[in-house]
């Protein structure tokens, strides 16, 4: 990897989840397609992938059309969408199961870069890819809190200061984490490791992190790349809003087709999508997806889905589902 040229490699983005924790925002929209400063989260993931690499995005049947629409608008040719034939969370093939099925169906015999479509990783993917040796590699972030680490795959590494270290143990969502280093949804798997993945996926189709436990169990050395830049797993209202604040960074982003009337105060990080009518209101750190009317409201840390009508209401820390109509007639 030292001549600057990438080795042949396939990229597989996992985007088949149903994101139940982000209900109701994910009622009609896949998590990787949630807007972030005017564009879907998945577009940020894609933008980091070197242009010469072929990308496969795996999703489920429910959101298939949305992904196809997104695919048309990205202006990159080597991206394909594959659809898991699942209409429900309980019918899910499992993330690892989907990968294994694709590897077998496409007879993939190349290195694999596996990415989570709902993670925002701020570090350079070029750096990550440059560092890999012929062994599994995962991108790791220090979350700084053992309690938070319980929700993720945690990594214990050899002592050192080098960003590239050897992993000594990996535990998926441990009850008692030994480290605050967590796996972040970027995984490099050399082609030599793919048979292990396929075999492991048969028994644990939904445990992506578990494959690293399996590598270590089979004494296959695993590397990790520790980065300090921003990382967010968009798993909850709080993490989504927090990432929004990081990315928008105090700016006000308003789509050109939206109309902002008089007496409107916009503070903090604001992202207003297309077709929004806003008047006599105060918005603080809010995301408004689009096609919504907001009149005489005070909204603080709210995420408003499409097609809402809000009049005369004050809301804080709320996600509003598409089509919500709240008219406080007593205030008008």
């Amino acid at each position: 990897m030292d001549n600057g040229q990438l080795e042949p490699m396939r990229v597989f983005i996992l985007a088949g989840g149903f994101a139940t924790r982000l209900w109701p925002l994910t009622e009609q929209r896949a998590k990787p397609l949630l807007p972030l400063a005017g564009q879907p989260l998945l577009s940020y993931v894609l933008a980091q992938i070197p242009a010469e690499l072929s990308v496969t995005v795996s999703t489920n049947a429910v959101f298939a059309q949305d992904f196809k629409k997104w695919r048309k608008g990205i202006g990159r040719r080597n991206v394909e969408i594959i659809i898991e034939d699942t209409g429900h969370e309980d019918e899910k093939l499992g993330a690892l199961g989907a990968v294994a099925q694709w590897l077998s169906a496409e007879k993939i015999d190349e290195d694999l870069l596996l990415l989570a479509g709902d993670n925002f990783v701020g570090c350079s993917m070029d750096t990550f890819l440059r560092l890999h040796r012929d062994r599994p590699l995962l991108a790791v972030h220090d979350i700084g809190d053992l309690e938070l680490a319980k929700q993720f795959g945690t990594v214990v590494t050899e002592e050192g200061t080098d960003p590239l270290r050897t992993v000594t143990s990996f535990e998926e969502k441990p009850l008692h984490p030994k480290s605050t280093f967590v796996s972040t949804g970027w995984w490099f798997l050399p082609k030599s490791s793919l048979p292990v993945l396929k075999e492991y996926a048969q028994l644990h189709p939904d445990n992506v992190g578990g494959i690293f436990e399996e590598f270590l169990r089979q004494s296959i050395p695993v590397d990790c790349f520790i980065f300090r830049e921003i990382w967010k797993d968009i798993g909850s209202f709080e993490s989504y809003l927090s990432l929004h604040r990081e990315i928008v960074d105090g700016r006000v982003i308003i789509d050109g087709s939206s109309a902002i009337g008089k007496d409107v105060t916009l503070r903090g990080s604001i992202d207003i999508g297309p077709g929004v009518r806003l008047g006599e209101s105060t918005l603080i750190d809010c995301i408004v997806f689009g096609k919504t009317t907001i009149l005489d409201c005070v909204l603080e840390r709210c995420i408003v889905d499409e097609g809402c009508v809000l009049e005369g209401v004050d809301l804080t820390d709320k996600m509003l589902r598409a089509g919500t109509v709240l008219r406080n007639k007593t205030s008008l």
């Binding site: 149903f18 139940t20 209900w23 994910t26 969370e89 996600m319 919500t324």
Partner: protein
């Protein structure tokens, strides 16, 4: 349709019962003869005139609400009030229509009989209509949100009391390992809400947990023409009711601890 038929049946039988009570009072007071001093015809005419007003008062008091428990103290008080009102209206109407007063004992008989017969009939009707309303497909299918202990207690209560509200499914925002609660299937997380509403067609939704989703659950109910219900425990209260202050709706909580 079942609800409309039941309501029509109830109104008709109550009308007959009101007339019957007053006719029985007449014969109890006058004797089982057709008196010429106090003829039945103008008396009956007045009863027929007052009967719709009495039914309207009962309706206004919510006594004919199919989901109301007829043996509840509040309901008994409402029926008593309606019967006293009916009696007062009858007295006034008789005076206005025929320009005279009559036996006070007859009024006591009429009032007592109308209350007693109405009460007994309503208690019997309540038992019968519960069976009819619960028959599948239930007239009031209820979707339960939450799998906590409050949800379980509420489901069990509805089942034990043979309530017209029949729980048909449970959803939970966090997901639950339970397959069912008291025989009611737990169908998954809230992302299945639309699908469950489409397939099970609930008329009511009761929120027993997940306070953060209140606004969205109300939005779902509004969109699907369902009635939204909230257990006070979601707000951390034990007993709550809806009130109005200066025309504004408020939730009233008056826990005695």
């Amino acid at each position: 349709m079942r609800r409309v038929i039941l309501l029509v049946c109830w109104l008709l039988t109550d009308a007959v019962l009101f007339i019957g009570a007053y006719v029985a009072a007449y014969f109890l007071r006058v004797g089982f003869i057709l008196s010429t001093d106090f003829p039945l015809s103008p008396y009956l005419q007045t009863v027929l005139f007052v009967m719709p007003l009495w039914l309207a008062a009962m309706m206004q008091l919510g006594i004919f609400r199919l989901t109301r428990i007829q043996s509840e103290q509040r309901n008994i008080a409402h029926i008593l009030f309606a019967c006293i009102l009916g009696l007062a209206l009858f007295t006034l109407a008789y005076y206005f229509l025929h320009d005279k007063f009559f036996s006070r004992l007859l009024l006591i008989y009429a009032g007592g009989l109308s209350f007693a017969l109405t009460m007994v009939w309503h208690l019997a009707f309540d038992q019968w209509q519960r069976q009819v309303l619960r028959r599948l497909p239930a007239a009031y299918p209820l979707l339960v949100i939450g799998t906590n202990r409050e949800a379980e207690r509420f489901i069990r209560l509805l089942e034990e009391r043979r309530s017209p509200f029949r729980p048909i499914a449970v959803l939970d925002s966090q997901g639950s390992p339970l397959k069912d609660i008291a025989g009611v299937p737990v169908l998954g997380k809230l992302n299945k809400l639309e699908e469950v509403i489409r397939s099970k067609k609930p008329t009511h939704l009761v929120q027993c947990a997940d306070l953060e989703h209140t606004i969205n659950l109300m939005s779902v109910c509004r969109q699907h023409g369902m009635t939204y219900l909230l257990l006070p425990s979601v707000l951390g209260a034990i007993v709550g009711s809806s009130e109005r202050i200066e025309g504004r709706s408020v939730i009233l909580v008056k826990d005695k601890g």
